[in-house]
């Protein structure tokens, strides 16, 4: 046992001496390699954390939403549809939602106006999201003016500010009463923006959606699963775009690393011959090359991953945030909850450490199997 450990440490010693001979070149290689791992890991951590957050937080979203479509566009839905849907077996409740957008020319931002029965706001009062409070300098008791669909001014008193902690969801929200909503936008009494449907058995949601589609062909059911998957796809795509942007650099590095790792110089070939002649076995030489490759790639992997963690979860990802999160005037202030898992790290390890190490070993294979007597005559 100690024999094996001693041997590997001896070989590692020599691998390090060997790498240190071209100190500048190898340090540059480790630096660039670290940067590559850092970029990949940052994107990966960031996208994974967003996806995880989406699937966790949006797990409470309505399990089925029904929109009415007119000429391919989302339209108001008559409450009579709710009655029809309620009759489908398995449906326990159908509610109309009232929500829409309001463009505020003052700050050139788009608000989301939303009616929530549970909040029970009196007429002429609103609750605003923290983002709006910020850009409009609104506070409890201040007033905000809106222009109705007929162009008439409507004055609202701010009753409350939505909590800052939920800004990721509510930065641009304005809650108001149903009466005010209908008055502001001219939505008739028997219409809603869309319907939320509750189903008794979770497994039947898809069936219910299909039945709704069959019964009311001008509707579009949206499942909770679809929403969560849409978000996963969106963040995956954004991460993908970053990687595509990085691809040029990535390829350049690959070529550089490949050349460095795989191109066995005449000098290196000669050294392998000498090692064999003084009694190293083929496997010893390959172990040496393994350690050389591992030293570089493991260092880069560990440093890159640590830097990425600091970048994404301690420094809020200044380098990639806008690309992956998106941009907006009413941008929410939020800090990502880190979701690290061993699998992610393993994937990263597999894609960064393994290829380089293998690329170092393979070309030495042939050189390591030559007859050592070549050395006697060079």
């Amino acid at each position: 046992m100690s024999y094996l450990v001693n041997k590997q440490r001896n070989i590692l010693d020599f691998a390090l001496s060997s790498l240190l001979r071209r100190k500048g070149k190898n340090l540059a290689l480790v630096a660039v390699y670290t940067l590559v791992v850092f970029a990949l890991a940052s994107v990966m951590f960031f996208a994974a954390a967003l996806k995880k957050e989406a699937s966790l937080v949006l797990s409470a979203t309505p399990e089925l939403i029904v929109q009415k479509m007119v000429a391919g566009r989302h339209d108001l839905i008559p409450m009579s549809y709710a009655e029809k849907i309620r009759k489908i077996r398995g449906v326990t409740a159908v509610e109309g939602r009232l929500w829409g957008y309001y463009y505020d020319p003052l700050v050139r931002a788009n608000y989301t106006l939303l009616v929530n029965e549970k909040t029970a706001l009196p007429e002429k009062t609103i609750a605003v999201g923290a983002g709006i409070a910020r850009v409009r300098s609104a506070y409890r008791g201040s007033t905000m003016n809106f222009s109705s669909y007929e162009g008439k001014p409507m004055l609202f008193q701010v009753r409350g500010i939505l909590s800052q902690e939920s800004e990721l969801l509510s930065a641009d929200l304005i809650l108001l009463s149903a009466t005010d909503f209908r008055r502001l936008f001219g939505v008739p009494e028997d219409y809603a923006t869309d319907l939320t449907v509750q189903v008794r058995n979770k497994k039947e949601v898809a069936t219910v959606a299909a039945k709704i589609q069959q019964m009311l062909p001008d509707t579009r059911p949206i499942l909770r699963d679809e929403i969560i998957r849409t978000y996963e796809a969106v963040f995956d795509w954004r991460a993908g775009i970053v990687i595509v942007v990085l691809l040029g650099a990535l390829l350049a590095f690959l070529i550089f690393a490949w050349d460095k790792a795989a191109g066995l110089s005449a000098e290196e070939r000669r050294e392998i011959g000498i090692l064999k002649a003084i009694g190293w076995e083929t496997s010893d030489v390959l172990q040496l090359k393994f350690w050389e490759g591992l030293t570089v790639s493991l260092t880069a992997f560990l440093l890159g991953t640590i830097f990425a963690y600091v970048h994404v979860f301690l420094a809020a990802a200044p380098l990639f945030a806008t690309v992956i999160k998106g941009w907006s005037i009413l941008y929410p202030n939020f800090r990502l909850t880190p979701f690290l898992n061993v699998f992610q790290i393993a994937v990263l390890f597999f894609f960064t450490v393994v290829p380089y190490t293998v690329a170092t070993i393979i070309p030495s294979w042939r050189a390591a199997t030559i007859d050592p007597d070549q050395v006697m005559r060079t």
């Binding site: 440490r9 590692l12 010693d13 240190l20 957050e53 409470a60 979203t61 309505p62 939403i65 929109q67 391919g72 566009r73 989302h74 957008y101 788009n110 608000y111 989301t112 929530n116 549970k118 909040t119 999201g129 983002g131 909590s163 902690e165 990721l168 969801l169 509510s170 930065a171 641009d172 069936t207 959606a209 299909a210 039945k211 709704i212 069959q214 579009r220 679809e226 929403i227 849409t230 796809a233 969106v234 795509w237 993908g240 775009i241 560990l302 991953t305 640590i306 963690y309 979860f313 301690l314 999160k325 998106g326 941009w327 907006s328 005037i329 009413l330 929410p332 909850t337 690290l340 790290i345």
Partner: protein, 102 residues
């Protein structure tokens, strides 16, 4: 000191730091749990469907609720993110819509 000792200490140090990162993630997560619960609560009471990440257009503010035909979209249901939407087909499931099993 032997070169290998220095290197092994360095690698162990890095691995330890990575372990600390995991620990930090755990602590941060534990610390954020009340916040996450609150967010879930907000989603539940307000019946929200989307993150407030980009408020500029309805297909960015509510990507899950937007029309099938929105600006620059290459296909109903395509991902609305240039240039991906122009390159990649939307998932089969989205194109098909909801059908009763036959």
């Amino acid at each position: 000191m032997r070169k290998s000792s220095i290197f092994i200490s360095f690698i162990l140090g890095c691995t330890l730091t990575l372990g600390l990162a995991f620990l930090d993630a755990l602590f941060q997560k534990a610390g954020d749990l009340p916040l996450l619960r609150q967010e879930i609560k907000v989603v539940e009471t307000l019946q929200l469907t989307d993150f407030c990440l980009a408020t500029e257009a309805r297909h960015t503010r509510h990507p899950s609720q937007s029309d099938w035909h929105s600006p620059f979209q290459s296909h109903p249901g395509a991902l609305d993110h240039f240039p991906s939407g122009a390159i990649i087909q939307p998932p089969e499931r989205i194109i098909k819509g909801h059908e009763l099993p036959r």
